[in-house]
């Protein structure tokens, strides 16, 4: 079975449209298990019962930004090792650096196309 059939990816973004753009892209790649979440708090709650392999999260979100979300993930035993890709509007070296230190697996700059998304994921997971 190819990885795209088994991998479970959670997409976290407060903006419906950006979230749908990512889930749509994943859908086109043939990824079967995609869990969309409207924000970090909801995602953390869902992760208590539904573990995933990889989280693709926006950086710019109300309440808790992508880095805070990542920190929260790393602090919990259950999600400590989950894969994490951050999507951001622009490259901010400070964010990238902090992300890296928190074990962020990859970094995707908006706007991106389906190929960019795929490359970004495959750099982390290997071929889908």
């Amino acid at each position: 079975m190819p990885l795209r059939d088994t991998i479970k990816i959670m997409v976290v973004d407060d903006m419906t449209i950006s979230r749908q753009l990512i889930t749509m892209g994943l859908d086109k790649m043939g990824v079967k298990n995609v869990v969309p979440m409207p924000g970090p708090q909801a995602a953390l709650k869902a992760l208590e019962t539904t573990p995933v392999h990889l989280i693709i999260s926006d950086y710019n979100m109300p309440g808790m930004d992508g880095l805070e979300f990542l920190l929260a993930l790393r602090k919990s035993e259950r999600t400590r090792k989950v894969g994490f890709i951050m999507v951001t509007g622009e490259h901010d070296p400070v964010v990238a650096d902090l992300g890296k230190r928190l074990g962020m697996h990859n970094y995707l700059k908006k706007p991106f196309n389906d190929v960019g998304l795929k490359n970004c994921i495959e750099a982390v997971t290997g071929p889908l």
């Binding site: 903006m15 749509m24 924000g39 539904t50 602090k75």
Partner: protein
């Protein structure tokens, strides 16, 4: 591609919300709001618009939003001051951004000059950074290892050595499965004195895992010795959790000095992981580095919201009031879906049909002679209540707050004030009031016009205001409220009020009224709404766009609304618009007139009576007025007004309904009989038949027959025949 098109539509809808957030946030900032979260929200709104625009390749929008966002970031990081000038630039930029979004959505031309001007202003705000170096945007990805127990066919990616080495981590002594902790929590007096609530702490604790909480009242003194502020209670807690000791203590971090807390691990709990089985990842490559509770300040985040442990995030926040996490941005708080309006429309129609079916059923049952059967009557009653609930719930789906509409008016005032050189502020109230979506949409144009009018004609020039002893800044108050089943929107200005002599002379000059007409104040005010009243001379370049107030009035009438003016010389004018909550149903009185079944809106009917001789007073050779507690009311014979039959000889055999219009005018409507009072579904007639005098719409009755719904206001106003319009007005105005 169609899927992407659909998303594109969704993006523009989302933009509307974001623009509202943006406008509201900027307004708060300009009102002196100092909350950091407000700046953040404003920044995020622009940022999200940019992000979406990028995905759809809307480069002009991306470019503008990018510059806007960059300068907002300067504000956020306090590198530029929150001055009036800066906020002004941002307000103008938000207007341009809204225009740009609209232009992109409708694929119309953009106003490049305005964009350029705004961009220049924005960019001028951004302090020049010395040697802005190009940052390297590459990021070396880490690969993710899925462990050995993966389903066959998946080759775990080889772990790469990364270009950074995680700082050596103290091995995380991860206990497998939940551990059991025994806690004792004994608050001291200070805990309560500082406004902490043990319940919240215990709830946060409970969020870590299953726990048993036991109240310990041992140290509680006898009632007589109890000091009102003493802390006598303690709690013993048995907590089963995977959380580490620190996480438990973290909950009590803010009250650590005000309580005695003990936590001892008990025997190991059952190691059952409740979670769904998913292969764990092999650890070694990225055992995450040690986490300092607060990342470096550069993380652009207040340390506080970063604190809560994941499980705690869902629990109510404790002592600090949960400022950042919840109020403005907590996700999951309000789940919503976007639904095609056609589907809702269908639901609205179906709910309407349900009302009709109920009416039919009631009628059939009555015809079958079963109306007095207790069980059936009870069932019918329940059916009626359910129907009403369904109807109201469906209407609630269509209901929308007027906030975005009001938000747009802020801009109208800003622009109008700028164009006229006046200083005007808009104060809004009741933005949360919900109205049917169609009404909100169709109210935009008339409201815009009225607001422009208020700035242009209502508010005086600064000099005149100074002479009158008023503050130089004019105020326009826009408010919405629900009052007795209707929505009332008021536009009040603190200007000079309506110049009645001038209005009167213009109306006479234009031969709208006879030169010798004597009009009351409110009649003069209402002249503003007469077609042909506004003139090129009267209307300035700003508010006169070929639309007179008559058009405004008609637009509001088309929504089933009424417009009322009240004005006090020197103090200002108030235009109130009263609108129905929904466009689809109406409580009506079913009446018979000359063998026709008609419906009068219940809201307009004050009382009904069968007149006796003593109630009637003869006026002229044939006409009567009805005396209601001494007040003479003109009688409007509906049968004659609608042309069903000649006027009745004497109202003695008829039923009179005292009707009151929105404007407060009263008269008695003459009908042959009253049948029933019921909810009817409004079916518009205008599409098929045009506007008919005295008729507002139609409905389908229980027996399947069509009944016309009376336009009571129009009947009272336009009452012709034996009681001329002047007559009615003279008596009631």
């Amino acid at each position: 591609m169609s899927e992407l098109d659909e998303l594109r539509g969704g993006f523009f809808e989302e933009c509307e919300d974001l623009l509202t957030v943006l406008a509201e946030g900027l307004q708060q900032l300009s009102d002196g709001d100092d909350d950091r979260e407000t700046v953040n929200a404003v920044f995020r709104a622009v940022h999200s618009i940019k992000g979406g625009a990028g995905a759809f390749g809307l480069d002009v929008l991306v470019n503008f939003a990018h510059k806007f966002e960059t300068s907002l970031n300067e504000l956020r990081d306090a590198r530029i001051p929150k001055s009036e000038h800066v906020i002004g630039v941002f307000l103008r930029a938000s207007d341009i951004l809204a225009d740009l979004v609209a232009a992109m959505r409708d694929e119309t031309a953009t106003d490049d000059a305005a964009i350029e001007a705004s961009l220049e202003e924005i960019v001028a705000l951004i302090p020049v950074k010395p040697g802005a170096e190009k940052v390297d945007e590459s990021y070396a990805p880490m690969s993710l290892d899925f462990g050995a127990d993966e389903p066959a066919g998946f080759e775990p990616a080889a772990l790469e050595t990364l270009d950074f080495t995680p700082e050596p981590v103290a091995a995380i002594e991860a206990p497998v499965g939940p551990a059991v902790w025994l806690l004792t929590f004994r608050p001291a007096t200070g805990l309560y004195a500082r406004g902490n609530e043990p319940l919240l702490l215990l709830r946060a604790l409970a969020a870590l895992g299953p726990c048993e909480i036991e109240l310990d009242t041992e140290s509680l003194p006898a009632l007589g010795d109890l000091g009102p502020e003493d802390a006598g209670l303690a709690w013993r807690i048995r907590l089963e959790t995977e959380a580490k000791e620190e996480e438990i203590f973290e909950i009590f971090e803010f009250v650590a000095d005000d309580c005695a807390l003990e936590a001892v691990p008990a025997e190991s709990g059952p190691g059952a992981a409740a979670a769904e089985d998913i292969p764990d990842f092999a650890a070694p490559a990225f055992d995450a580095p040690a986490f300092e509770p607060a990342p470096e300040p550069a993380a652009a985040a207040e340390p506080a919201p970063a604190e809560p442990a994941p499980a705690k995030a869902s629990a109510p926040k404790g002592e600090d009031g949960g400022k950042a996490g919840e109020g403005k941005g907590g996700d999951g708080a309000k789940a919503s879906i976007r639904v095609d309006t056609d589907r809702i429309e269908r639901l609205v129609n179906l709910a309407g049909e349900l009302v009709i079916t109920h009416a039919m059923l009631t009628q059939r049952i009555a015809e079958a002679g079963l109306a007095r059967h207790a069980a059936i009557a009870e069932g019918l009653d329940e059916f009626r209540m359910l129907t009403r609930d369904v109807q109201e719930s469906v209407m609630a789906i269509r209901a929308q707050p007027v906030r975005p509409l009001f938000q747009r008016m802020t801009r109208i005032v800003r622009e109008a004030a700028h164009a006229t050189g006046k200083s005007v502020k808009l104060v809004t109230d009741g933005e949360g009031t919900e109205v049917d979506k169609t009404i909100v949409e169709r109210l935009a144009d008339p409201l815009t016009h009225m607001i422009r009018n208020a700035v242009d004609h209502g508010i005086e020039s600064a000099e005149k205001r100074a002479d009158a002893g008023k503050p130089s800044e004019g105020t326009i108050r826009l408010s919405a409220a629900q009052r007795s089943g209707r929505i009332v929107i008021e536009i009040a200005d603190d200007g000079a009020g309506i110049n009645r002599p001038r209005v009167l002379s213009i109306a006479k000059e234009k031969k709208l009224i006879p030169a010798d007409a004597e009009l009351s104040d409110s009649e003069i005010d209402n002249l503003l709404f007469m077609p042909g009243f506004s003139t090129a001379k009267e209307v300035s370049a700003l508010s006169g766009r070929g639309v007179g107030m008559d058009v405004v009035k008609r637009a509001i009438q088309a929504l089933g609304g009424r417009t009322i003016i009240s004005s006090k010389p020197g103090e200002g004018s108030v235009f109130s618009i009263s609108l129905p909550l929904t466009l689809a149903v109406l409580d009506g009185v079913v009446v018979r007139v000359a063998d026709q079944t008609l419906v009068a809106p219940l809201a307009a009917i004050v009382e009904t009576c069968r007149p006796t001789k003593a109630d009637l007073k003869r006026m002229g050779p044939r006409d009567h007025v009805l005396l209601v507690r001494g007040e003479p009311l003109p009688i409007v014979d509906i049968g004659a007004e609608l042309g069903f039959r000649p006027p009745v000889e004497s109202p003695l055999d008829s039923v009179l309904m005292v009707a009151e219009t929105e404007g407060g005018a009263r008269c008695a409507l003459l009908v042959d009989d009253i049948f029933d009072q019921r909810q009817v579904v409004i079916k518009g007639l205008e599409e098929g038949f045009g506007r008919t005098r005295g008729v507002a719409a139609a409905t389908i009755l229980g027996d399947g027959r069509i009944a016309l719904i009376l336009d009571v206001d129009a009947l009272v106003r336009e009452a012709s025949g034996p009681h001329g319009a002047g007559h009615v007005m003279a008596l009631t105005g």
